[in-house]
């Protein structure tokens, strides 16, 4: 599977819609994900971006990395802005004011812009049924402002606002399950992905954009800077997150669950967690708790996929 993924990328378009020369950190998993997502989407797309790492690195005036029409407005409203673009295209095409060429609408935001401050706008847009794809690039903390915890930060992780101290062992809440929140809106397509499995990611983006209604894809975007790993280990840690069951890859198509990258046996969780600076303080009891919840989550997912 891994090898096939390495070669499959070469079958994608050579055209870059997220151009090189942007200002992301070395080894940025999020930039990699954005690049792949836009290769999958092609040129007939308009993207609305939330404030965050990808906005900052790609649009310092007068420069831009975007080879497609792209707009940034604020932090919490990417879904609402995308909803406006979708409404505009619909009415302008109906009135014959623009060509009836099919144009896809995408919203993008980080985990903070999605699961925290942008959740209301996203829920509203999904509920109203705008035909758009929302992509959450989840690097599991507010990396752009200096690694503060979000509600997508994993349990136990050290961040600058969930520091591992002598009394409190880092983040004390479980990662908010945003894909499940999206599923609860009964939208046609929800999936998780990571650029370490590029073929899987590209397929899901293509399915999402083709869905008849709102689609949501949650992409684990490895952040060497925030997680405390070497910049050349991005792909490896993305794989480990999946192979240990910490971040399972699955999709929910019209309510039907399917694990898209399945394993007979998961790798030991320590192999993913302990090499990362943000988890290195974890004591055995915390590790045990995480292990239990991850196993539970994996079982639940397998059960739903079998239904």
């Amino acid at each position: 599977m891994n090898d096939a993924n390495v070669y499959a990328v070469k079958t994608l378009t050579k055209k870059e819609y997220f151009a090189p020369g942007h200002r992301s950190c070395l080894g940025c998993g999020e930039a990699l994900a954005v690049r792949l997502v836009h290769k999958a989407l092609g040129r007939n797309v308009i993207t609305a971006s939330a404030t965050g790492c990808m906005e900052i690195v790609s649009s310092p005036f007068p420069l831009t990395s975007w080879e497609i029409p792209w707009i940034h407005v604020a932090f919490e409203n990417a879904a609402a802005v995308a909803g406006g673009i979708e409404a505009a295209l619909k009415v302008l095409q109906r009135k014959g004011k623009i060509s009836d060429k099919k144009v896809s609408v995408v919203a993008m935001a980080g985990d903070g812009g999605t699961v925290d401050i942008g959740l209301q706008a996203l829920s509203g847009a999904m509920e109203r049924g705008h035909k758009f794809l929302y992509v959450c690039y989840d690097n599991e903390a507010y990396m752009n402002t200096g690694v503060q915890r979000s509600s997508a930060t994993p349990f136990g992780a050290h961040t600058t606002t969930s520091p591992a101290g002598t009394v409190v062992p880092g983040q004390v809440t479980w990662k908010k399950n945003m894909p499940e929140i999206a599923v609860a809106h009964k939208i046609p397509y929800v999936a998780t992905a990571t650029p370490s499995y590029p073929l899987d990611l590209v397929n899901k983006i293509k399915k999402g954009i083709a869905a008849d209604g709102p689609a949501y894809v949650h992409i684990l975007s490895v952040c060497p800077t925030g997680w405390g790993i070497a910049s050349e280990e991005t792909i490896k840690f993305g794989r480990l997150a999946v192979q240990t069951g910490f971040f399972p890859l699955y999709e929910v198509e019209n309510g039907k669950y399917k694990i898209t990258v399945d394993f007979e046996e998961l790798m030991p969780l320590e192999q993913y967690l302990l090499p990362q600076r943000r988890f290195r303080h974890l004591a055995e009891d915390t590790l045990g708790y995480i292990r239990g919840r991850v196993a539970e989550q994996w079982e639940e997912l397998q059960k739903r996929s079998a239904e």
Binding site: R43, N44, V45, I46, A48, E55, I56, S59, P60, F61, P62, T64, W66, E67, I68, P69, W70, I71, H72, V73, A74, E76, N77, A79, A80, V81, A82, G83, G84, I85, E86, A87, A88, L89, K90, V91, L92, R94, K95, K97, I98, S99, K101, V103, Q120, A121, S123, G124, A125, E127, R128
Partner: protein, 387 residues
């Protein structure tokens, strides 16, 4: 054919927005704005208006959605009041900095707290420096006319700025007043279909809403300020063209008996109507009173204003919002600052009145006039406080 009818002012507003043939309406209900958006949703539901009506989950999303739709080339409209504007605040500033020519009706209501659904100007004064063109209208006909005028100004390629039409909640929005309607073809002659200068579309990849490093930020803000100031002659043009078409002429400052006036009231919004009655009564008693209604609030019409108050000894500026801990009401402070460099300048009396729906009657204006002309008024007071 001109048709004069009596209707609720909110419905006249909705009728005008329909005649503008807007493409996208996004709104969230808040008193006293509701009747406008209810009526617009009915027009869409009945096929009288071919638009996308998007009932969003908050005002923040209402304006954000309009930013998206306007950026994609659709004529967009939203409408709010009070807390709704406060929730939108962040996006209000971004809309103007992105030069998106949309129109918002702001049905003025107090900002909490204490919670009050009634009328004053504390909502709009909280966005004084937001970079939109800001108009205050004072009766049903002005509300109706300014929907067309606002889009005409906003969409002018020499302007490309968003416009806010302010009008008073309840005391205007919920009144039944006479209004002369316009035929759709006449409106279309004045306001042709929207031709965006820039729009998001794959046929032309544009990046909008970039990040401004310190090396460019000051220049961006200077350019924005210049754009707002430079909109002034185009606002006058839009009014002139509307006047030629409808016979109703509007100006940045509307003067009533100011020519020889010694004491001039300055008002915004529908309070001008009552103040006008007070001025008439004062004139009958032989007092040299006048009234100046400030229709254009941003860009502030300094020259027209100074011209209009030439020769006056006193200005009584009625503010409908408090600038807590400040030197006076927001409008009065601005006027003082505008006059500071003039050699001959009148006394400026800042009267805060009509907060949170408190009525200000003809008698109240006469009382203000008496205390100012008798030299008993202080430079700044909250008028009519009980107890």
């Amino acid at each position: 054919m001109k048709k004069r009818v009596g209707m609720e002012v909110s419905f006249a507003a909705a009728e005008a927005v329909k005649l503008c043939n807007v493409d996208v309406v996004a709104a969230y209900p808040i008193t006293p704005q509701t009747h406008i958006v209810e009526r617009l949703s009915e027009y869409v539901a009945n096929g009288e208006l071919d638009a996308e009506f998007v009932p969003v989950e908050s005002e923040h999303s209402a304006l954000s959605l309009c930013v998206g739709s306007q950026a994609a080339g659709a004529r967009s409209f939203t409408c709010t009041s009070s807390q709704g504007l406060a929730l939108m605040n962040e996006i209000v500033y971004i809309t103007s900095s992105m030069r998106l020519p949309m129109v918002m009706m702001l049905v003025n209501r107090s900002l909490s707290g204490p919670l009050s659904i009634w009328n004053d100007h504390s909502d709009v004064m909280s966005i004084r420096d937001c970079g939109w063109i800001q108009l205050f209208v004072k009766n049903s006909q002005e509300v109706f006319d300014h929907a067309f005028i606002a889009y005409k100004i906003a969409e002018d390629h020499n302007v490309l700025l968003p416009v806010i039409i302010n009008f008073d909640g309840f005391i205007l929005s919920h009144m039944f007043e006479s209004v002369e309607l316009m035929e759709p073809d006449v409106v279309q002659q004045y306001l042709p279909p929207y031709e965006p200068k820039y729009a998001l579309h794959p046929d032309r990849a544009l990046t909008m809403g970039t990040y401004g490093m310190p090396a460019v930020f000051t220049e961006a803000k200077k350019a924005q300020d210049e754009a707002l100031l430079a909109s002034y002659p185009h606002i006058l043009e839009a009014w002139k063209a509307w006047g030629d078409l409808s016979g109703r002429h509007y100006h940045p400052v509307e003067e009533f008996l100011t020519k020889d006036a010694e004491t001039i009231f300055v008002t915004l919004g529908s309070f001008g109507e009552t103040a006008g009655e007070a001025v008439k009564a004062l004139r009958e008693k032989g007092h040299k009173a006048g009234l100046l209604h400030l229709r254009l609030w941003r860009p502030f019409p300094f020259d027209a204003f100074c011209q209009a108050i030439q020769g006056a000894r006193n200005l009584i500026v009625i503010d409908r919002a408090v600038s807590f801990g400040g030197p006076g009401g927001p409008v009065a402070s601005e006027i003082r600052s505008a006059l500071y460099n003039k050699e001959k300048r009148p006394g400026v009396y800042s009267m805060i009145a009509g907060l949170g729906g408190r009525d200000v009657t003809v008698r109240d204006y006469m009382q203000m006039f008496e205390s100012v002309t008798a030299g008993k008024a202080s430079a700044y007071e909250i008028f009519g406080v009980r107890g």
